[in-house]
Symmetry: C3
Subunit: 429 residues, 3 copies
Amino acid sequence: MDDLGERMHRLCRELFPICRSITGNGLRKTLGVLKDNLPELVVHEIPTGEVCFDWTIPREWNIRDAYVMDPDGNKIIDFQNSNLYVVGYSLPVDRTVTLEELQGHLYSLPDQPAAIPYVTSYYEERWGFCISEEQRRHLKSGTYRVYIDSELSNGSLTYGEVILPGRSEKEVFLSTYICHPSLANNELSGPVVTTFVAKWLSGLKDRSYTYRIVFIPEGIGAIAYLSRHLEVMKQRVKAGFNVTCIGDDRSYSYLPSRNGNTLSDQVALHVMKHMHPDYIAYTYLDRGSDERQYCSPGIDLPVSSVMRSKYGEYPEYHTSLDDLHLVTPSGLRGGYDVLLQCIRCIEHNETLKLTVLCEPQLDKRGLYPTLSTKESGRQVREMMNLIAYSDGQHSLLDIADKIGVPMWDLFPIVDRLKTHRLLVPTGEA
Amino acid sequence: MDDLGERMHRLCRELFPICRSITGNGLRKTLGVLKDNLPELVVHEIPTGEVCFDWTIPREWNIRDAYVMDPDGNKIIDFQNSNLYVVGYSLPVDRTVTLEELQGHLYSLPDQPAAIPYVTSYYEERWGFCISEEQRRHLKSGTYRVYIDSELSNGSLTYGEVILPGRSEKEVFLSTYICHPSLANNELSGPVVTTFVAKWLSGLKDRSYTYRIVFIPEGIGAIAYLSRHLEVMKQRVKAGFNVTCIGDDRSYSYLPSRNGNTLSDQVALHVMKHMHPDYIAYTYLDRGSDERQYCSPGIDLPVSSVMRSKYGEYPEYHTSLDDLHLVTPSGLRGGYDVLLQCIRCIEHNETLKLTVLCEPQLDKRGLYPTLSTKESGRQVREMMNLIAYSDGQHSLLDIADKIGVPMWDLFPIVDRLKTHRLLVPTGEA
Amino acid sequence: MDDLGERMHRLCRELFPICRSITGNGLRKTLGVLKDNLPELVVHEIPTGEVCFDWTIPREWNIRDAYVMDPDGNKIIDFQNSNLYVVGYSLPVDRTVTLEELQGHLYSLPDQPAAIPYVTSYYEERWGFCISEEQRRHLKSGTYRVYIDSELSNGSLTYGEVILPGRSEKEVFLSTYICHPSLANNELSGPVVTTFVAKWLSGLKDRSYTYRIVFIPEGIGAIAYLSRHLEVMKQRVKAGFNVTCIGDDRSYSYLPSRNGNTLSDQVALHVMKHMHPDYIAYTYLDRGSDERQYCSPGIDLPVSSVMRSKYGEYPEYHTSLDDLHLVTPSGLRGGYDVLLQCIRCIEHNETLKLTVLCEPQLDKRGLYPTLSTKESGRQVREMMNLIAYSDGQHSLLDIADKIGVPMWDLFPIVDRLKTHRLLVPTGEA
C-alpha cells in the first residue's frame, strides 16, 4: 500500500466539497485545511479595488445556496449536491421563469451528455446554472423557480504563502491554484501535491535553497502576487514550477517556460526523460495556466510545468467527470515523485571541479569496487565519466545529461569523491 | 481576369524583340520603355575603359543587321527574325565561306534539336551564329554568304536606377538585369516584375525604408554599380533581392545569400513557407547571378533571390524556347506577389514591447471578440501569442516564426494593440 | 605491391617478439629498434618514485624466463614461446603447486577457448599465467612446477620523443604507446605507423608546424609526460592524435576529443568523411586510451583518435589472436594514409582572403581552362567556390566543408590563386 498516495487522496476528498472561486470564503476554508497539514502556511488578503499591474482586485463573491425547482416543486438542481451547478460569480436571483427563459441561463455539453460543465463569469455580470445535457433534455415545459443566494461585494482576494529558508537566499518557487470548485485533477491535485512536497521540504534539515510556495487563485492571483513581489523574485528565483493537473493515472506531461531553456526546464526534461521517457512534451504555445503570467515579457521567471494529464487535453477536463475517481492515490504519488525529483536535482546541482590533473589514482584511495560485477562496472564507468567532465564548467545536471545517466545516480558518487577531496564545488550551478 | 498579370505580360511582349546585350542601344531602348512605366527611373552611362574593381568597362557593342545566305541565295538565318541567331558581341563580318568553314562558327544543341541556343562571347573576339540543330542538319554543301553589321567601339555601359526615399535612410535593394536579348523567364520577367513592384512602392504613401532599385547588365553591371556605391550601400542596405527568373508557372525557388541568415533570407523563407510551402530551397553553391557579386567577400550585402523556375534548372533555359509562352500572366503575378509580400514583411518588421506587466486585461478594452467563432478563437490565440513574445527582443518576423503564423496575419492585430497603447515599437528590427 | 605497407609490416614483425610492459628493458629494446628507423628519436628515463600529478612512477619490472612444468616434466607453458603467457608485472616465483593451487593463478577465456588472454597486474602484487581455455581443460591433476624469473625493483620508466621543428612554434602532437607485449593491432600498429609518419615528416622540407611525437607506455606514461611538459604543450599544441589500433583491414574509426570541436576533430571528421565515408564515429564516452589523460579537465589538449578497428570493439582484442595475421600491410597502409592526410590538412590549413572586391576577372589571367571538359568544369566550380568563401573568416578547412569537397582538392587551386596574388593568407587557421 502506498501510504503517501492514500494520504494525499484523503486530503483531496476533504477539500473536494468546498465551493472555491477566485475570491471568497471557499478560499479561506481551503487554506485553513491546508494549514492544518502545513503549519508554516500564512494567509494573506488583498482588498477589492487594489490595482495590480493592468488589473484590479475584483469584488468578493460568496454563495450560500442555490437551486432550480421544476413545475412540480422538485429541486432538480441543488447547489448543496454539487457546487458545479452554479455558474461561478453568478449574481443573486430569486424568480419564477418559464422554461424558455430558463434555457437562456443553462449551460450543458451536447457532446458529453452525462457531464455537468464548469462555467464562470468573472468579468461579465450574469447568473446561470450548469446542468448535464441528459437532464436538460428531460426538462418539462412550465414555470421554474430559480434561486441563487449569492453576494458580490467589496472584500478581498485570499491566498496562502509558505517561505522555507535555505542556505542560499536564492529561491525555488512553487505555485499552485485553489480557485476551482469540485474538480479534482484540475485542480485539487496541484494544491495537495504541493502541500505534501512542502511538508517534505519543511522536514529537510539542510535546504540548499529558500522555497517560496504559493496557493493562489489562478490568473488574477498570480498577477496580484507578482505585483507585490516581483522585484525580489526577479533577483532570487532560480527555478520554479507551476503545479497543476498532477493527480491522474495516465500520461506525464511537460510544458516549458517561455524562454524554454531555464534551469527549471533543464531539470524537468532530465527528470521526465529518465523517469517517464514516454512523457508528452508540449510547447509554450500550448500554455494555459499561470506560466502565462510568470513567463510574460518583463516578468520572465524560470517557471515550467510538470504534469500528469494536461488541462484541456483530457475528456473530463472542466466537467463534473474530473472527480476523485479520475484522481487516484497512485496518480498523485506519481506526480509527487516527479516534482520531488526535480527539487532534489536542483538541491544537488552544483558546478564541480576535479582537484588533480589527469585521471586520479583511484586504487590508492580504495575507490575501485573490490568485487567486480556488472553493477560495479557500471558504477566505475559513471564515476570515471563524472570525473572526466568535472572541469568547473559543467553543472552536475549538465554532466548527467552528457554522460546519459539520471542525475540521482551520481549523488552518492559525488559524495564519495568529495570525501576524498577529488571533487570540490565551485559554486551553485 | 488578372489584370496586373496581363499588364506585366504586355510589357514583356513590348520588350521582347529588342536586342539587348551588356552594352549598347538595346539597353537604352529597354530602359526607355521601362521609364515610360516608371518615370522615377534615371538612366546612367559608364564610359568604356572605366576601371571597376578588378574589371574594366568593355567596348560598347551594337548591331544593325546580320544574316547567312545559302548557296541558292536564301537568307536561312536572319537577325531581323530573331536576335538569338547572332552570337552576342560578334565582330562584323561580310564574307563568303564554305559550309565547312561556316560550321566552325555555328552553335546548336544536339540534345534540343528544335531550339536556338543563346551564346555570347564578351571577352574573346569572334563572330558566330546560333541555329537549331534541326536546321543545321539540312545545310547543303556549297558557298555561304555570312554578314554581320555590328560595331565594337568605345562608348558606355548603360543602366537604370530608381531611388524612392522612405522614413528611414536604411535601404531595401532590388536588382534585376536587362542584358538578355529575346529570352523571357531569364530575363524579361525580372525587369518587368521589378518595374511593377517599383510602381507599387512609388504609390505607397508612407515607406518605412528607402528603396534602391537598379536595372543593370548582369555581372559587369553589378560590379560597376557596386564600385560606384559600395560604401553607402554597406552602411544602408538592410535587405535586398536579386530579381530574376520570376515569370513562369512552375515552381517557386529560393536561393540564399552567402551569409544565409540575413533579414533578406529570413523574410524570403518566411514568405515561401507560408505562401508556397513546396518551394525549392537552393544553396549558395547553386548561385549563378548577381548574388555572386553582391555577396562576395568584402561586399557582403544581404541579398537573396526569390524566383519561380531558377536559371539553369529548366529545359528551356538559355534557348529560344524561353519565350512568352513559357512566361505567363499568372506566372508573373505569382512572382510579383511573393516579392511584394517580402517587401511588406520588411516594411512592417519592428521590435515590439508590451507596455504592461503580466497579460493585459483585454475585456476592459473590448479587445475580445464579442461573437465567439472558430475564426475569432484563432484571432484571440494569435493576439495572446503576439503579446506573449512582445518582449522588446523579438522582431515581428521572429514572433511570426515562433508562433507559426504568417506575419501578415499579425499586421491588423499589431495595429489594434498599438491603438490601445498595449504594444509600442522599440525600433526597426 | 605496396612497398610502404610491407615495410611497416616488416617493422611490426621485428618488434612483435619483444616483451614490453609499462617499464623495463622491453621498452628500451623497442625504442632502440624504432631509433634505427627514426634517428631523431631521443630516449628518456623517469626514475621510480617520481611524483607525476596524482601518480608515482612505479618500480621497474623485468622478466628473463618463465614456465609451467606439468607432472610429467613437460613445459606446457613457456615464456620463450610467447610473452603473453605471463601476467604482466608478475612477482618472481619458483615453487611446486597442486593443480588446484595452480588454477587460482591461471587466466583463460571460456568464450574464446583458443585464445591466450592478455592480463596485467600493475598495482596489486601477484603472479599468474595466461593460458588458452582449450589447454586449461586438458590439464591433468598432479604437481606442477611454476617458475617466473622476474624482478620488480627501483629503476625507471622509459619513453621516446621526437621533436621536428617547423616554421611555427605551434605544435602538432602525436602520441602512441609501446607497453603492450606480443599484440599487433593494439599495439604495434600505433608505434609503427607513427614511426613512418614521423619519417615522412622528417623528410618534409618546409613544415608549417613543429611536431612533438612521443612513444610512451599508456596511462602512466602519458601522465608522466604531461607532468613534465604541460605548460608548454597547453600554449603550443594546436592539434593532436592518439595513434592506436591502426593496422587491421576492417573498419575505420574516429573518437573525438572531450571538447569534440577542436581542429583535431574537425580535420579527422573531414578526412574520414571524404576518404572512408562509412567510418564508425564513437563518442568520448567510448574512450579508453590516452585521450583519458590528454583531454582531462585542466589538461584539455585537442587530441582525437583516428583508428581502424577500435580497442575493445573487435573479437581478437587483448588476446593472442591480435597478431600479425590480423594486422596486414594494407591495413597499416590504410591507417597511415588517413593519419598522413590529417597532417597534410593541418599543414595546409590557413585563413585566406580575396584581394579584390567582387569576383576577379579570371580570363585576363588565363585562369579559366582553355579546354572545357567535365573535369575542367568541376575545377572552375571549385575555384569559384573557394574564392566565394575566401573572406578572411573561414579557414581552408571550413571552406572545404562548406563547399563539400576534400580539402586536398583545393591545395593546387590555392597555389595557383596565390601565385596570381588573388588570395593571400591572413594567418594560420
